[in-house]
Subunit: 367 residues, 2 copies
DNA sequence: TGCATTAATGGTAGCGCTACCATATGTAGG
DNA sequence: CCTACATATGGTAGCGCTACCATTAATGCA
């Protein structure tokens, strides 16, 4: 009844035999080398190399009910935002023998819950999860997962364990304040489909304008699906989620319907690029007649003509630090600060560069 | 000597006990439901739901020496090119119970070889790998992996099993021909760090120009690291790999050093965007004085002012079709055509829209 | 009616590894 | 010299599942 061993794959027993030691010693040499004499360690290393032995992590997981998988939950792969974050996570991996498993929640709580259940059942080494709006059930599963959990890309006072990110509301607020500061008064908000975090930015925009009695709900210009689920994106040309074309259309609509608007705060750089093109096509002076601001600081923002004002956030760093935090905790280090605010930078560029002089004039013109 | 069972996790035995059947029957109900009577199937489903049973894929892999992991090898996560491909792969996953494991080769053969070794040893359900330039050792491992292999994003006459992609050389060739057709004569090639595939496009560019005796190596304008390894990218603002700023600098250099250049073919849309901004900043007429063409057809290309000519390639579709091909083969379907050419489209837009009238004039002017 | 064949289910023995103990050695302390 | 205790190594029994057979009941067909 012996089951055939596919002779191809060397096992720990083969290594042990070749090195003339017990299998368990090989296992130790791999996992806790300090507990094996230097001499044996050397012999074993040799055997491993000769046989090109690679441990089977399935067997390892089964035997130890632990894995070396870091599960990463992101809401979307569509946006370069999360590509950068994921890249940071991968870059933070190097030199460890951890593995990464990306799970895509598609901005859907039910999917997220199912994924988390599946993940915790498989005893990951750690979990990195985007945002703070997990359902109660999801949160409970995470709390009981018995591994390091890092939330990213947002902030809250009550992280599950640790959170690394920044405040979207404050980012929206500060950028809007900047626009007001330099003299814009009729500031529209351009947006595509909104998730929780982009909604927080809208919130910041609103608060900043209300501080000055400048808020006008009619100036929230929105395109794209109105659903809770994000629209499906396949090839970018059919993008109803977020695109420069959408930004261009939004800008044109704004100019047509609200001729008194003197600045647009775009919920995403992609939109701001479209807004810029719309203005160029109509020969509208930027920043004189219209100011433009975006969010993310993608590479093209500073190269644009005029260079586009935006909020720089630290996507790569966020992923990278999350991974480093995970690795620290797995090495037994202290968890450190539970809340890490990476902040953001208001990149004041030519597209909103009105002198306060011009600002005053503009304020007058607004009247 | 009994090892403690962490009571938390229900096993197949628990389900079997609750359903009053043997464990193996539960196993079958999950994997080959048609071999279990409808009645038992129903009972078992109930038990699974009551216990929230989730199979342990580590144990499954160990027992069956097979996994449900589709390994995906990409050379980079930096470029939105591969983000789109990966997104297509994930989208193609839905409804299956396959899992995805992304491995990043960093354009490095040695890393790729190590990753492939590690992957094949773990018996993946299938492998999707970018490009065709695997080392002999890598190729041999893949050939002996005993699972479906799909190469993507390029073409060759001798795929390992199946390849889904398009010809970069032909894309470069056709775009360059278009530029010549509409009358451009001194056509520069703008590029950052080049990988094998972008080099193929350069090759196409060269061939097209040589057809007309227009090739001039001095017009290959290049920035970024000259190494075989790609430069590291962290936050996009420090991007020495590929950025709009680089495109802008390249365009400015081209204008300064080669005032007779009348068109630029950018190896990437990102560069073409920078090139556009450079021209706008100098008030240079596009497409009159300078024509601009890119490669990829990112969303902003058609929104730009003027809309930018480019090569549309099918990134999402490439990943998606690769995944569907994998699923088909795993279901036992025929492998189908070994070579799937997804092609590309030359998107002729305003940035190269010279009438043939103007083209002739320009031809004259060149003399 | 008898015997081959199929359909439906179960038992047992691993898959490759590590947790848990047991067993040698060496080394210090009384 | 003996105990105590750390250091270094090994043996055994699973982890949760499925491959491989075995078994039983139901069906087909001469």
């Amino acid at each position: 009844m012996a089951r055939k061993r596919s002779s191809s794959r060397p096992t720990i027993a083969d290594v042990a035999a070749l090195a003339g030691v017990g299998a368990i010693t090989v296992s130790r040499a791999l996992r806790e080398p300090e507990k094996v004499s230097q001499q044996l360690r050397h012999t074993i290393d040799g055997a491993i190399r000769t046989l090109k032995y690679i441990p089977d992590h399935n067997a390892r997981a089964l035997a130890s009910s632990r894995t070396d998988v870091v599960a990463v939950l992101v809401p979307s792969l569509t946006q370069s935002v999360f590509s950068d974050v994921v890249r940071g996570i991968y870059d933070g991996l190097e030199g460890s023998n951890l593995r990464i498993e990306i799970a895509n929640t598609r901005y859907n709580d039910a999917i997220e819950e199912q994924l988390v259940l599946n993940i915790v059942r498989h005893k990951p080494a750690a979990i990195i999860i985007s945002g703070i709006e997990q359902t109660a059930a999801t949160r409970e599963m995470l709390e009981n997962a018995g591994c390091p959990i890092v939330q990213i890309m947002d902030l809250t006072d009550s992280p599950i364990q640790k959170i690394i990110g920044f405040s979207h509301e404050r980012a929206g607020l500060e950028m809007t304040r900047h626009l007001v500061d330099v003299g814009y008064r009729r500031i529209a908000f351009l947006t595509g489909w909104m998730n929780t975090r982009s909604r927080e930015r809208l919130c910041g925009y609103r608060k900043a304008l209300e501080e000055h009695g400048l808020f006008d709900p009619a100036l929230i210009m929105r395109r794209g699906a109105d659903s809770i689920e994000p629209p499906r994106v396949t090839e970018p040309t059919q993008n109803e989620f977020l695109s420069a074309s959408m930004g261009r259309a939004l800008m044109e609509e704004t100019l047509d319907r609200h001729p008194d608007v003197d600045a647009v705060f775009c919920n995403n750089d992609v939109l701001s690029l479209g807004a810029l093109f719309a203005c160029q096509a109509r020969n509208i002076d930027i920043p004189g007649r219209i100011g433009i601001a975006g969010f993310n600081d993608f590479d093209y923002m500073e190269a644009a003509h005029p260079a586009l004002t935006t909020v720089r956030i630290h996507r790569w760093r966020c992923g990278h630090e999350a991974m480093l935090a995970v690795r620290g905790q797995l090495k037994g280090e202290d968890i450190g600060p539970r809340i890490v605010d990476l902040g953001f930078d208001i990149m004041k560029r030519a597209s909103t560069n009105r002198s306060s002089q011009a600002a005053t004039e503009n304020g007058v013109r607004q009247k």
